[in-house]
């Protein structure tokens, strides 16, 4: 009788441990350095204090307030930016006249990093919520428009030929032909847009905001609370990771028919 398979767990566990070891090592070094008192406690904050601050911020609702403000801005900005981006990109790729009209301007404005527009946007929208939503929308607009444009343009001419031959109406043409053919590339563009949106939002909140993770860190800096700043860095990184990771999963899920 064969031995029951024990699954991949034993071999995976050491691999996992090896991957985590360097990070654990750095954290231990940090803790030793913090406790040794070479630097003042306020400058090199012990990890347990960062953890305690994080817990305190989480339990008194402060973190939830900042986090929900940031995520609300990110979600609405990303939604607006990517919807406009995908439709503009598709329109530029499908119609020669739209391409002629918009492409030159699009390629020019695309050269400017979105954070360079922040001072201009402050002048136009003041420092209200709308300003940050516009920043995120702009940051997610360009990658999604570009990816959609390239994806639609790369559809083989033969596909479109067949659709023309069968006199496929516009709606099914978009949903049954253009959409599935472009899914992976467009999703990659959306993921890039989301990452850029997050980066630009943090910058915008550091610069001008009354709430949000960026503002929480900026306040921590002004009050010399390194533990608050570190907690903010940790949460910012975690959100960035979760956003990217979940988009990768969606991408894999929606493009699985390609490889299958």
């Amino acid at each position: 009788m064969p031995m029951p398979s024990r699954g991949p767990a034993p071999s995976r566990l050491p691999a996992m441990a090896i991957r985590i070891a360097p990070i654990a090592g750095i954290l231990i070094l940090w803790e030793i350095a913090a406790l040794s008192g070479i630097w003042p406690r306020q400058v090199l904050v012990p990890l347990e204090q960062v953890g305690a601050t994080l817990l305190a911020l989480a339990s008194d609702g402060e973190l939830a307030r900042h986090l929900s403000a940031s995520l609300y801005r990110l979600a609405s900005g990303f939604l607006v930016g990517s919807v406009i981006g995908v439709s503009t990109g598709a329109a530029m790729a499908l119609s020669r006249n739209v391409h002629r009209l918009l492409w030159p301007t699009f390629s020019c404005v695309r050269q400017v990093p979105v954070i360079a527009f922040i001072p201009l946007l402050i002048l136009f929208f003041d420092v209200e919520d709308s300003f940050k939503i516009v920043v995120v929308a702009m940051a997610s607009f360009f990658p999604s428009a570009l990816a959609t444009h390239d994806a639609v343009r790369d559809i083989p001419e033969s596909h479109r030929e067949v659709a023309r031959l069968y006199r496929m109406p516009t709606a099914p043409f978009l949903v049954r032909l253009i959409l599935p053919a472009t899914v992976p590339q467009v999703l990659t563009g959306l993921r890039l847009g989301l990452t850029r949106g997050w980066l630009s939002l943090v910058a915008a909140e550091l610069l001008a905001a009354d709430s949000g993770l960026g503002q929480m860190m900026e306040m921590g800096r002004q009050l010399f609370q390194i533990d608050v700043v570190l907690a903010g860095v940790f949460v910012t990184g975690l959100i960035g990771f979760l956003l990217d990771n979940s988009m990768v999963r969606v991408e894999r899920h929606l493009s699985r028919w390609r490889t299958a």
């Binding site: 400058v43 002629r100 001072p119 980066l199 700043v229």
Partner: protein, 255 residues
């Protein structure tokens, strides 16, 4: 004729935007505050060009970006070669880089400000970090993706470790290293503007934009935005040219 039509269409959109802008700027003082008249934007541009302000700030930003590219890029390439060659180093350094990279560059800014102040050193540190990530990742990928047949040849000829590094691994990794540097150049430029916006000390296009925003000078802000865009574009194009020149011996793999 067709050419003319597409040219006219290309100009139609910016012309429309500019026309709308000019119209808005004439709708009373409240509007002129945000919508600076086109004529005034042009005048500010010429003024900033003439009194050397534009050159000063653009030069400071450019110098910052390129210095940081040199620092971050060099460290990135060295680290990429090291982690690409050694499994131990790869396993030690790669998880750390992956974890660090999750935090947007400007998210480090408050921490860096507290530890190192908001002087030029702190700015350089952050911009260098932004140039470090793409170079280290691409170099590492390049070193690890050596074609088996070349490695085989090296073994047949009994190459020493340094010989195979110099004659096989390095040249075959070069295209990806260049990709890393060109990404680093773009990131460094963005990060430069970002840190200058947030650390408003000493010269730089970002600092100038922030000052102009506080003074409600849309015209100056726009001149700076255009300058940032043109400079970023020019840097990328120049580097692309340099890349094709330096890699012309490798037409097939370079892309």
């Amino acid at each position: 004729m067709k050419r003319l039509a597409s040219f006219a269409l290309a100009l139609a959109f910016p012309a429309l935007v500019l026309g709308w802008w000019e119209w808005e700027s004439r709708q009373g003082l409240g509007h002129a505050y945000a919508f600076a008249p086109l004529e005034q934007i042009a005048r500010s541009f010429l003024e900033m060009l003439a009194d050397g302000r534009l050159a000063l700030h653009a030069g400071a930003s450019l110098q910052r970006a390129l210095t940081a590219l040199l620092i971050g890029g060099t460290i990135g390439i060295v680290a990429g070669v090291a982690t690409g060659l050694s499994r131990v180093l790869d396993r030690t350094a790669s998880p750390l880089i992956t974890v660090m990279r999750q935090v947007p560059i400007l998210g480090w800014l408050p921490l860096v400000a507290l530890w190192f102040g908001n002087g030029d050193g702190a700015k350089l540190l952050l911009v260098s970090l932004s140039a470090f990530y793409p170079t280290v990742l691409n170099t590492q990928k390049g070193m690890q993706a050596i074609e088996q047949r070349y490695a085989e040849v090296g073994r047949l000829y009994g190459f020493t470790r340094s010989q195979s590094l110099r004659m096989i691994a390095w040249p075959s990794a070069l295209p990806l290293i260049f990709t890393g540097i060109s990404q680093a150049l773009a990131f460094a430029w963005i990060a430069t503007i970002g840190v200058e916006l947030l650390f408003s000390a000493s010269a730089g296009l970002g600092t100038e934009m922030m000052a102009a925003q506080v003074a409600a000078r849309t015209d100056i802000v726009l001149v700076c935005v255009a300058c940032v865009g043109v400079m970023g574009f020019t840097l990328n194009q120049l580097f692309a040219l340099l890349r094709t020149r330096l890699l012309r011996w490798q037409p097939a793999t370079a892309k």
